[in-house]
């Protein structure tokens, strides 16, 4: 096989893996949007916040150490314990649930029946708040996150492809794990929403708020539940991206990468988020590979948006989105 084709195939596979990570972030958006009609811009910052909290808990950092030191002249840094990844993840998940409760009770309960744009703005405010909070609590330096996921080139794929084509594909172990975990997460979410009582209530709320209320489903509970699940998805996404490239501010920008994924897949569809993620991941990697060098590179910043934009002109509700029927 010609080299170019092999390179393209490798790029394609890596694009698929990146797409899975985009899909993971997009999933959090879809969950909240379906259940409450809130377009949650803070999803990316939630991932950052979750990853920061996880690192902080595992390293035993004192929260707000910088702030306390500046205000009282003390010199606090760490509690002096090291926790394993699993304990850290459980504690962080609890914090995300507490956060979900706080977000619902302090903000969105008061904004029921407001226009979507106002809700959207509130989530941007929330994103700013959490970004500042995370930095204040745990410090703004780049942190290394290691919960014990394997990293580095996958030797097996390298050998097999080298034997088959005479060229070893470079696939990161972490990406493979991310794919597996994302798949498990999606299946678990689907089983949850199909077969559990809360899951059915969730779908009922997504379908029609008022009808759900009238059959005795507590909207508040459902919203806290949805924000908790979204927080958990954010935690998983935060772990994946944090392990890959360190826990730092740029992590919150993956939310922006997830937006075109949502447009492609439709804001209301979980399978759409997955398929959209894969299309965007593969598309932008292949475009950068094929066209990027001709136009000066770094096309990844905008390609996804332009692709989604062109796509929407032909299908305004995305691939799997619900068809909008408008009445006057």
């Amino acid at each position: 096989m010609p080299d170019q084709l092999l390179f393209a195939m490798e790029v394609l596979l890596n694009g698929l893996m990146a797409g899975v990570l985009y899909a993971l972030v997009a999933l959090g958006f879809v969950l909240i949007y379906k259940a409450s009609g809130i377009f949650n811009y803070a999803q990316g910052v939630m991932a950052l916040f979750a990853a920061m909290t996880l690192v902080g808990i595992m390293e035993g950092q004192v929260p707000f150490a910088h702030l306390i030191n500046a205000a009282f002249g003390t010199d606090l840094h760490v509690f002096g314990w090291q926790l394993s990844g699993l304990v850290g993840i459980v504690l962080t998940a609890l914090i995300m649930i507490a956060l979900a409760w706080a977000v619902n009770h302090l903000i969105f309960r008061h904004l029921v029946n407001q226009e979507p744009i106002i809700l959207f703005m509130a989530t941007i405010g929330l994103a700013y708040f959490m970004e500042g909070l995370g930095d204040l609590m745990w410090g703004a330096d780049i942190k290394k996150l290691d919960v014990g996921l394997p990293q580095g080139i996958n030797g097996w794929i390298d050998t097999v492809t080298f034997d088959a084509f005479g060229y070893g594909f470079f696939i990161d172990n972490l990406d493979i794990w991310a794919t597996v975990i994302a798949a498990v997460l999606v299946i678990a979410l689907m089983i949850f929403s199909q077969y559990s009582k809360q899951g059915r209530a969730l779908r009922a709320v997504a379908d029609d708020h008022q009808a759900a209320l009238s059959v005795g489903i507590s909207l508040n509970f459902i919203w806290v539940l949805v924000w908790s699940i979204a927080g958990f998805v954010a935690l998983v996404a935060g772990i994946m991206w944090g392990t890959k490239s360190g826990v730092q501010f740029s992590l919150s920008l993956i939310a922006l990468k997830a937006l075109p994924v949502l447009m492609l897949g439709g804001f209301t569809s979980i399978p759409g988020a997955i398929v959209g993620g894969l299309i965007i991941g593969v598309g932008e990697k292949l475009f950068e590979f094929a066209i990027g060098p001709m136009v000066g590179g770094a096309t990844e910043n905008w390609f996804a948006y332009v692709l989604a934009l062109l796509f929407l002109v032909f299908r305004p509700q995305g691939l799997f989105g619900e068809r909008l029927i408008e009445r006057v």
Binding site: I124, L133, A298
Partner: protein, 358 residues
């Protein structure tokens, strides 16, 4: 007692449909104009001009522009930063290509160019709506910034990739470049703000503005009663981008002097201007001014308090600052989703009855 309509009889249609029907409001408005044009320039110094006055004036123009699109026509846009960049780069190209033309016209033409670009990116609004459109405008944001970063023609092949404004004068007084004085730059921006606010106010209460609002309230119903959605939406995009382009041009040439596109016109700028519009009040020209003033003054105040008075490290103050800004936005939305303009209106309603509310 002063704030009354009673006894203020209108005897012509012009008087009846004026922007400030109450005499006290009219006086306050003219007073504010006199203070802004004739008194402030004598007292303004470099610190006040650069920290408060210029950012306020420029962001207010951008906020008025975005308010026309979001608040009056209901098309949510997150591409403001990109459109400001178009204005900035258009002035730069014009300033360097035609040095003999007055900078005043360069800024206006830059606004016109931005209007064309805005219409181009507004085309999808005919097919897609709501959040899909908001995300689609992000395409403009990222694509334009990338374009200005990567195509050397836009920054005249300069080695640093930056653009910097050469010195240009208006009636002999430099307004751009290194030798400007505070009052000159202040007045230059103020003229544009006053013009923009006047045009925007009169556009939005005329036929054009009513068409925009009909589209905002329900586009299908508007179409049925004879509003052409193509014209209404694209004209909103054009007018909005025109003001945003002017703001971008002033931001680059008068305020910063030299910009690097990703830094000055990134996605954060889009959000900042959108915040101004929302905190000020959607669909209110006064709201845009109030929102811009609020979000320009707030960081300055916070920084002065935390760093200046309490002596905290700057990075800590910066984190606390974004946290407070975020919290304030949320609190504002919870307390008064219609923004500062609504608070102002409630105050005026109360003032009319004061001191005998029953």
């Amino acid at each position: 007692m002063l704030y009354r309509e009673a006894g203020d009889f209108k005897t012509s249609y012009e008087e009846d449909s004026q922007t400030f029907p109450i005499r006290f409001d009219r006086l306050a408005y003219h007073g504010a104009l006199v203070v802004a044009f004739a008194i402030v320039p004598f007292f303004i110094n470099d610190y006040w001009a650069n920290a408060v006055a210029l950012p306020f004036l420029i962001y207010a123009i951008a906020a008025i522009g975005l308010n026309i699109l979001v608040g009056f026509c209901g098309q949510v846009s997150l591409g403001t930063g990109g459109f400001m960049a178009v204005g900035a780069y258009a002035t730069y190209k014009l300033m360097t290509a035609f040095p003999e033309v007055n900078i005043f016209f360069h800024v206006l033409i830059a606004g016109g160019i931005t209007a064309l670009v805005g219409m181009l990116f507004g085309l999808p609004s005919l097919r897609i709506k709501g959040f899909y459109l908001a995300v689609a405008t992000l395409a403009a944001q990222f694509f334009l910034v990338w374009l200005f970063n990567r195509v050397p023609w836009f920054y005249n092949h300069s080695a640093s990739g930056q653009i910097s404004a050469p010195e240009r004068t208006v009636i002999g007084v430099p307004v751009t470049g290194p030798h400007t004085e505070a009052w000159a730059t202040y007045l230059f921006c103020l003229v544009f703000l006053a013009g923009s606010a006047l045009i925007a106010r009169n556009l939005t209460r005329g036929a054009t503005g009513r068409k925009w609002m009909a589209i905002r309230d329900m586009d299908i119903a508007a179409e049925i009663i004879g509003v052409n959605p193509l014209r209404a939406k694209l004209s909103a995009f054009a007018v909005s981008s025109f003001f945003i382009g002017i703001a971008g041009a002033l931001f680059f040439s008068v305020y910063l002097g030299a910009v690097e596109v990703g830094e000055a016109f990134g996605i954060n700028k889009s959000f900042l201007v959108l915040f101004m519009v929302i905190i000020g009040g959607l669909g209110r020209i006064f709201g845009s001014l109030a929102g811009a003033a609020f979000l320009v003054l707030l960081p300055v105040l916070l920084k002065n308090t935390l760093v200046g008075t309490l002596g905290w490290p700057t990075d800590l103050a910066a984190h606390l600052e974004i946290m407070i800004v975020g919290a304030l936005i949320v609190i504002f939305l919870v307390a008064e989703p219609h923004g500062l303009a609504q608070l102002w209106r409630i105050t005026k309603e109360k003032l009319r009855l004061w001191p005998f509310p029953h």
